[in-house]
């Protein structure tokens, strides 16, 4: 079997994960502090990377289904943590049903419907479904929160899946799979890089009212790392030229940060620390994909505008 660029990229990710695990292992053995959360976090990365790799290698359809499941779990987490109205049970049910429909448009390569189904049709339908219960107390708040959750957990995330079905170009044989790998890897690596730079050198708080642990040093260190990494990886798995790769790196790093603090603001408003407990060491699934909710649609449209 001939290894394609995409396979080398996956091998690279596994190598990096192995290296990171060794570092974490050594550090946790030497440190006197309790590192169990970091160790747990690293173990969870193995599981996540394994699921992602398998889905990726098996088939495109499986990968689309995996993203649909991620949307489902994220939306479930969101609905479980926000105040909801009993009268809106049926509305929540419709919101869940929009997930298979939205991902069917992805599977069907139906871009026109993919782009409008949630922001137009569901946007108009949910308030209608909600008013049928004839309970106007809390109507505005309910419609607003449900629609935002649907946009964040389903519409945004489905853009990552839509990258997958973009065809190969003369500049890049890896096609959509390569673009998705580029997006996911950089988004997640950016999170880790910002966290690590912040832990090592963080001093000046960047947005203490929302996220007291985030620092300028962490943010800038992460942006620089992702920026450099984007230019190194882009030629391997994407059609991006150097200037576009640099721009995409900045876009992912900054949008990832904004997505992260947006979900932090939501959690602070609700008075919860984590969005759930699904991923040991990380918290809930929304804690893990918060950056992706911003990077996926922005990177998708960046690519679509310049290359497709």
């Amino acid at each position: 079997m001939k290894l394609l660029a995409i396979h080398w990229a996956l091998i690279g990710i596994w190598a990096l994960l192995t290296l990171a695990s060794i570092v974490v292992f050594v550090v946790s053995k030497r440190s006197s502090k309790d590192m169990s959360e970091l160790v747990q976090r690293t173990q969870s990365w193995w599981v996540m990377v394994a699921i992602f790799t398998i889905a990726f290698l098996v088939s495109q359809t499986i990968s689309i289904i995996v993203f649909a499941l991620i949307s489902f779990l994220a939306l479930k987490e969101y609905f479980s943590m926000i105040p909801t109205r009993r009268a809106d049970r049926r509305v929540l049910f419709w919101a869940y049903l929009s997930i298979p429909v939205q991902y069917f448009w992805v599977y069907d390569h139906y871009y026109g419907m993919f782009a409008v189904f949630i922001p137009v049709y569901m946007f108009l339908f949910l308030p209608f479904a909600s008013l049928l219960s004839q309970q106007t107390d809390g109507f505005l708040k309910s419609v607003g929160t449900l629609n935002w959750g649907l946009m964040l957990c389903v519409f945004s995330i489905s853009h990552a899946a839509f990258l997958l079905i973009l065809p190969a170009t003369p500049e890049s044989s890896a096609g959509g799979a390569g673009l998705l790998l580029f997006l996911i890897f950089l988004t997640q690596f950016n999170d880790v890089a910002q966290y690590t730079w912040g832990k090592l050198f963080g001093r000046r708080k960047i947005i203490p009212g929302v996220s007291p642990n985030k620092t300028w040093e962490g943010f800038l260190g992460g942006v620089a790392t992702t920026f450099v990494l984007a230019m190194l990886i882009a030629p391997l798995v994407t059609p991006l030229d150097l200037a576009h790769a640099a721009a995409a790196g900045l876009l992912i790093a900054i949008a990832g940060f904004v997505g992260d603090v947006t979900v932090s603001a939501l959690k602070r408003d609700l008075g919860v620390k984590d969005t759930g407990s699904l991923i040991p060491g990380h918290g809930g699934i929304l804690d893990r994909i918060d950056s992706l909710t911003f990077t996926a649609p922005l990177f998708f449209h960046f690519i679509r505008y310049f290359y497709y």
């Binding site: 609905f79 909801t84 009993r86 049970r89 869940y96 809390g138 407990s277």
Partner: protein, 209 residues
């Protein structure tokens, strides 16, 4: 066999559609005689508690439920007894000569684990009502059987009384320290209430009105 097949299906459905956040699962009794006491919001309560147990142990775990509801027709009665493994309790009995808890005594004597909902009815979802005293008679008769309180939240949102449409929500299951028999029934009931109020204040739950 039928029971195992049914609860395997329930396990998968519970894990996928609901998703449970269980705290202190190790406190659930692994062998009888023991009594699990939970708040009651939904038909899902029993399903979820059964789903937390290993399949091989299901035959020894008996939910206690109202005879007038679960044994109201021959078909329902057969399903309740053979598939769900329910022990019936008469909520409204005219016949005073029979102790309504007779089935429970018998099961505890046989080292089974009972699942009891002392609120008596599912009532308004996600609101706890007063606990019925029947449980204290059981605890008095079997002072060595640990009584394990389990507080659940979210199941009443997913499938409240009177609805047949299941809406997915992550649910919290908080298992408490077992209560040992304090010597009299009033103290026992107070201890149980206290334990439930502790468990229910472990987390700020999202409002649901």
């Amino acid at each position: 066999m039928l029971q195992k097949a049914f609860y395997s299906f329930v396990k998968i459905a519970v894990l996928f559609l609901l998703g449970l956040n269980v705290r202190r699962k190790d406190l659930l009794p692994s062998k009888g005689p023991a009594i699990i006491v939970a708040n009651h919001n939904s038909h899902l309560d029993t399903m979820v508690l059964m789903a937390l147990m290993p399949l091989s142990r299901l035959k020894d775990i008996k939910p206690v439920a109202a005879a007038d509801y679960f044994f109201s027709s021959p078909r329902k009665a057969w399903l309740s007894e053979h598939v769900l493994g329910i022990i019936p309790v008469e909520r409204t009995s005219a016949d005073r000569s029979v102790d309504p808890l007779e089935g429970c005594y018998e099961a505890l004597t046989q080292d089974r684990v009972l699942i009891l909902f002392p609120e008596g009815s599912r009532g308004e979802p996600e609101q706890m009502t007063d606990l019925k005293k029947g449980i204290s008679y059981l605890a008095e008769r079997f002072p060595d059987a640990p009584v394990v309180p389990v507080f659940t939240h979210g199941l009443g949102k997913a499938l409240p009384k009177g609805s047949f449409m299941l809406v997915p929500f992550f649910c919290d299951i908080f298992v408490g320290e077992p209560i040992t028999w304090p010597g009299n029934r009033t103290q026992f009931m107070d201890g149980l209430k206290e334990r439930f109020s502790q468990l229910s204040s472990e987390k700020n739950f999202a409002s649901w009105e």
